[in-house]
């Protein structure tokens, strides 16, 4: 257990103490007790920068289940550290923001911070684990804590719906990822990512490679809200705004991105990876930005915008994978996409976090998030307005903010797709830059909607619940920090290029020996296609934004029945109703039905085994002789048992059963079993009298009637009888070895001092059977006694009469 492990599990440890702090210090907002931890962790992880800047890594191992190859191995490399800094950095800001956002008298702060700390620790575990199973454990912890946080206001139905939806989708993906991990283990024999990467060349040709790739990608796509699994993210906006800012913009949704980046060295050589990651990413990018424009709720716009930006990062990672697929990594032709992905990852976390906080402030100070009710808030909230301008302009990709730089690099990556000479790119490859460009136009439009519909235009005080005013300073500090980062990175991008971006890139695309990535981000590329694309985005975006009310109706064209949410809800309902109907059909409460299933199964399985496997044999050589008397007895049994079926009165049936029983006793006599005959006679007598007792207490009013003939019953019973006969014949013809009874014959007197072999076996050789048989009789007697004597529930007798 090293300091690094302690850092990862420290949020869990603190989570244990939170309820105590909450109960003991009611006067102090619980958030103040939480705040030092992420700050401390942030400064701790900063200290690793000096190591990872040289594109080195630190590995610390802690044995957990060594026999299964599961060790809690923590590895800090460029990629892990980048995420760890995002998690702890934005975590600190979000905790600080939440102190002012959540009221300490109205909200249950103890549960909130416990969930948040669980999430923080789980997320650190995901990004710093080198063991895939440990990663999976933390991964499910993030799903679980996210579920708790979305359902924080659990008395609202929409919160519960959103929490359940996100749980179902992300756990579905998580389980698929587990399958992928197990497949990787089968191929490589290790759970360690580092060792799997070392073997990536050998497993490339393995038939399990593609299934593992698909399973892992499914996990990543569901977590990162890629099309068509993005539907949970907008519904997760029912969570408190600090949670949306933290989980659903900056950290958890990037776990899928992290997984794709982390597994790139394993899978990226396969073209399927390249096309799936890039393809799903670009579709998500377009669909998210297209859908964001029609939303009217601030957080919904931001949710779809997150979906879209995640798609963008995903597609960049896919195109970056081309570097491994086509060429040596030294050539930076395609790796620029990876650089752009990492760069945009950081940028997105900064501006999206601040935008969510801005949305939270607007909600907090006006009582609504609906942009149709908002407007003209500029004069009331100048600082919030400034923050919103910075965030949205960065999101739209306008200079001089950091979004501009990553968008330029994004376009560069997309344009370079045209140069891939695979999959007939003359026709298909052109789709990438075109879709990317169209999506950017939509991004521009919704960014403008977000800021200008909220802060400019007509002020509508009558629609607002509160009188708007500027937020308290404590609430503003976190978004101010994030917005400053947006500007600082925008103006001086190279301060993070070699400390954060290059090391992360080295982890995603491991370079050849001795090669160090050297990233430089320039403001001015010259007159490149990217510049003209950006200019086109701005021009068309302004035009479309100005004419939005005129073409907005285009969204009405899309049929409501075909939305993905309808499919999801319908699918759930069909599954629920279908399984209920299915259960109702076969579990109808009738014993006869269940017996039919059991007997049919018995006939089918044994009949199949007998005939399909050629097991039936018939051999008449080893049989004993038949006497007339025996045939007579056999006839009595046969006739007696069949007559029971046709007997009208139940009294006749009982007597016939007795007749069959006494005939069986006679058989025992013939077959030289005196003890059996004795017992059978006595017991048959008692049984018949018990039957008569039962008969006597029958309801009298009903006329006795024959059994109604049912074809199904007849077929099944003939089948059962036939199968038993066939098996008896077959078994008798197949004696493989003799009996062990010679031992009993020889030793009954010698060793056990008895002459009746059956009795000696019962009480001496196999006395245990007899002991428990006595127990059975004893239990039956006690059961009968208590059934007759115990009358619970007093006098409610014969209700149905």
């Amino acid at each position: 257990m090293s300091l690094l492990h302690l850092a990862i599990i420290s949020p869990f440890l603190l989570a244990i103490l939170v309820p105590f702090a909450y109960k003991l210090f009611r006067q102090i907002h619980t958030g103040w007790f939480i705040l030092p931890l992420p700050i401390l962790l942030f400064s701790y992880f900063i200290s690793y920068l000096s190591i990872t800047s040289n594109q080195q890594s630190v590995t610390k191992s802690f044995s957990w289940i060594p026999t299964l190859g599961i060790d809690f191995t923590a590895k800090v490399d460029g990629l892990g550290l980048l995420f760890a800094l995002l998690i702890t950095g934005i975590g600190s800001l979000v905790v600080f923001y939440s102190i002012y956002y959540l009221d300490k008298n109205k909200e249950k702060l103890n549960t909130f911070y416990v969930y948040l700390l669980l999430f923080m620790g789980a997320m650190l575990g995901v990004v710093l684990s080198d063991n895939l199973l440990v990663l999976y454990t933390f991964w499910e912890f993030t799903s679980f804590s996210s579920f708790l946080l979305i359902g924080y206001w659990y008395h609202r139905e929409k919160s519960r719906y959103g929490a359940q939806k996100s749980m179902i989708i992300t756990v579905f993906g998580g389980l698929s990822m587990l399958a992928g991990i197990i497949l990787l283990y089968i191929m490589t024999g290790t759970f360690s990512i580092t060792e799997i990467i070392a073997q990536s060349d050998e497993i490339f040709a393995n038939p399990l490679f593609v299934p593992a790739l698909l399973c892992i990608l499914l996990g990543a796509f569901t977590k990162s809200a890629q099309f068509p699994f993005h539907i949970w993210l907008p519904d997760a906006m029912e969570a408190p705004t600090p949670v949306s800012a933290y989980l659903h913009s900056a950290t958890m949704v990037k776990a899928g991105i992290y997984l794709v980046a982390r597994m790139s060295p394993v899978f990226a050589e396969h073209s399927l990876w390249l096309w799936l990651v890039a393809g799903f990413g670009i579709v998500t990018l377009f669909w998210g930005s297209f859908s964001a424009v029609k939303q009217t709720d601030l957080k919904s716009i931001l949710a779809f915008s997150t979906v879209s930006q995640l798609g963008m990062i995903m597609s960049l990672l896919g195109i970056g994978a081309a570097a491994l697929h086509f060429e040596t990594v030294k050539d930076s032709y395609f790796t620029v996409a990876t650089t752009a992905a990492v760069f945009h990852l950081i940028n997105h976390a900064t501006f999206k976090g601040s935008l969510f906080m801005v949305a939270g402030i607007v909600d907090h100070e006006t009582g609504t998030r609906d942009i149709r009710k908002l407007g003209g808030l500029m004069n009331f909230m100048p600082i919030t307005f400034t923050l919103a301008i910075i965030g949205t302009f960065a999101m739209a990709g306008l200079p001089p903010f950091n979004g501009f730089l990553s968008k330029e690099m994004f376009f560069t990556g997309m344009v370079r797709v045209l140069d891939m000479d695979i999959f007939n790119l003359d026709t298909w490859g052109i789709l990438f830059p075109v879709i990317a460009w169209v999506a950017s136009v939509f991004t521009f439009i919704y960014s403008m909607v977000l800021v200008f519909r909220t802060f400019t235009g007509k002020f509508q005080p009558e629609k607002l619940e509160k009188k708007p005013h500027e937020a308290p300073i404590g609430m503003l500090i976190s978004p101010i920090v994030l917005a400053s980062l947006v500007i600082i990175i925008g103006f001086f991008p190279n301060i993070i290029s070699n400390t954060l971006i290059s090391p992360a890139q080295a982890a995603i695309m491991p370079p050849a020996e001795g090669y160090l990535y050297d990233t430089h981000i320039y403001f001015w590329h010259g007159f490149t296609p990217e510049l003209f694309m950006t200019l086109g985005v701005i021009t068309l975006g302004i035009l479309l934004f100005a004419t939005l009310p005129k073409w907005r109706s285009v969204y009405g064209l899309f049929p409501k029945k075909l939305t993905l949410n309808r499919f999801y809800d319908g699918g759930l309902e069909i599954a629920q109703r279908g399984s209920m109907n299915f259960t109702k059909i076969y579990m109808n409460g009738s014993i006869r039905n269940y017996l039919i299933y059991i007997f049919t199964f018995f006939i089918v399985i044994l009949g199949f085994a007998l005939f399909a496997k050629d097991a039936f044999t018939f051999d008449a050589s080893n049989i004993s002789t038949i006497h007339f008397f025996e045939v007579l007895l056999a006839l009595v049994i046969a006739v007696g048992s069949i007559t029971i079926l046709f007997a009208k009165s139940r009294l006749t049936s009982i007597i016939l059963l007795g007749a069959v029983g006494y005939t069986v006793a006679l058989f025992f006599v013939i077959f030289r079993a005196p003890d059996l005959a004795l017992t059978q006679l006595v017991i048959e007598t008692i049984s018949v009298s018990l039957f008569l007792l039962c008969f006597y207490h029958l309801p009298k009013k009903r006329n006795e009637e024959r059994m109604t003939f049912k074809m199904v019953n007849a077929v099944i019973s003939v089948g059962v009888g036939a199968i038993v006969t066939l098996i008896a014949l077959s078994a008798h013809s197949n004696k493989l070895f003799g009996s062990i009874s010679q031992y009993y014959v020889e030793n009954t007197y010698e060793k056990a001092a008895g002459k009746n072999m059956v009795n000696v076996i019962l009480v001496d050789f196999r006395g245990f059977d007899t002991m428990f048989e006595i127990a059975v009789l004893g239990i039956a007697a006690l059961g009968i006694f208590s059934m007759i004597k115990l009358r619970m529930g007093g006098g409610k007798k014969n209700e149905n009469k």
Binding site: S641, F667, C694, M707, V724
Partner: protein, 113 residues
Amino acid sequence: MEILMAFIIGILFMSATYLMLSKSLLRIIIGTGLLSHGAHLLLLTMGGLKRGAAPLLGEHAPSYTDPLPQALILTAIVISFGVTAFFLVLAYRTYQELGTDNMDRLRGNEGND
């Protein structure tokens, strides 16, 4: 003889199955009675029939029938008797409390299942 017994056992099993699929509780119990007779005879038959004297050493016979299946059957008879007796009293109490022996009416009703 074993072949004849195999068919007799088959008939017992057939009648027992048919009775157990009926809807009268008493007939179901009669069916279980027939089924245990069938099973006991099957045990005896599979052990081989008429291979010598009764398993009593006082007979001084050159060969005896197999004593082991007989011991097994004796145990089975007693256990099936215990179960049948319990089952019968259960049926008796069912008549007393519910006033019916029709399995269709003993299914439980909506809201009660």
